[in-house]
Assembly symmetry: none
Homo-oligomer: 207 residues x 2
């Protein structure tokens, strides 16, 4: 089994190589440090399976996986991560990638790799346990704890309706400039960048 290892922590990736190659069935064909490496090395080496970190600088493992799967729908990718990062689990599953395992469980990496190689899906216990809450829409704590004023909350709901500043100003009987100021303040409070991110934030919280 030819494996491609991608991890932005060189210590981790080289440790993985050592661990994996202790098994006679496994050969690490290359090591990369980011999503771009993953794409290039996959093309040039055509490994049987990719073992990749999710959180990386520049391009996340998920994004790299998207591109790789776009070019080769049969690509097998096993994700590694330090903690089970909720927002990524769904994305990883959506990709149809083979499994998602946690970095802590070093002893489970090799068996998981072999299982994935055989075409089976591998999901850690942690993942399965989290599925319902991930899919459930109630992980919305609400917008109430961000120090937002009444008028700001009102403004947010209009942004989430897809209205422009001008339209919002007409509905709320305000000048367009005031609406812009409100949104600017909201963005700062919520640590967001633009109205699109605000709308997304809103829908992730509420639905």
């Amino acid at each position: 089994m030819r494996v491609l290892v991608i991890d932005d922590d060189a210590l981790v990736s080289s440790s993985l190589k050592t661990i994996l190659e202790a098994d006679p069935d496994i050969q690490v064909v290359a090591i990369g440090n980011n999503g771009f490496d993953a794409i290039e090395l996959y093309k040039s080496h055509r490994p049987d399976i990719i073992l990749m970190d999710i959180r990386m600088d520049g391009m996340t493992g998920i994004e790299a996986a998207e591109k790789i799967i776009a070019s080769d729908p049969d690509a097998k990718i096993l994700f590694l991560t330090t903690f089970s990062d909720d927002e990524y689990i769904i994305k990883a599953l959506r990709l149809g990638s083979k499994g998602y395992i946690l970095k802590q469980r070093f002893d489970s990496i090799i068996p998981s790799l072999k299982t994935a190689y055989l075409g089976q899906n591998v999901y850690g216990e942690e993942i399965i346990g989290k599925l319902p809450s991930l899919l459930k829409e109630d992980d919305k704590a609400g917008l109430e704890n961000y120090g937002l004023t009444e008028r700001e909350l009102e403004t947010i709901s209009h942004v989430a309706e897809g209205l422009s500043n001008k339209e919002i100003s007409e509905i709320m009987y305000l000048s367009e400039g005031t609406v812009r100021n409100y949104i600017s303040t909201i963005l700062e409070k919520l640590e967001l960048r633009d109205r699109t991110q605000l709308a997304i934030f809103y829908y992730k919280k509420r639905g």
Copy 2:
């Protein structure tokens, strides 16, 4: 363990009662034939767990489960179905209900019930195996009938992540101008006005 059994096939529900009560730990407190029964009998008997068919006349098991969970968020519900009906699996998972098992496997019903009773989630092998493709289909659902190209769909998902044109262009290896053109085309195809409405559209099509 006090169980409520709901199945619109009287033969099935009475068979289930017989099978379940062969176990000394289990007591079937009531039997219902539809979703309305489920809600009423849950209120009046307060069983530890409900074993319910998904496909039923009038109200599906899913709908009944929604109402029951709305009134008692801790309600434990285990679904039964003749075949693993894709469209319902996601809905059942979203409810956070305890598991989803297949009717054929009579021998697994009792162990599953006991596991669910202990608060663990129970998913049949078939379900786990289908998750990726289910989520994937769920992903494309809704966006498919608008004549969007692959690259356009890819672009949409990035917009829905809250990325700017510049960021999208870097990820997709495109010029910023191309991304703008893509989005412009997408907006026209979907009859939307700006990227915020696009993100909202995206999130309304799924969770």
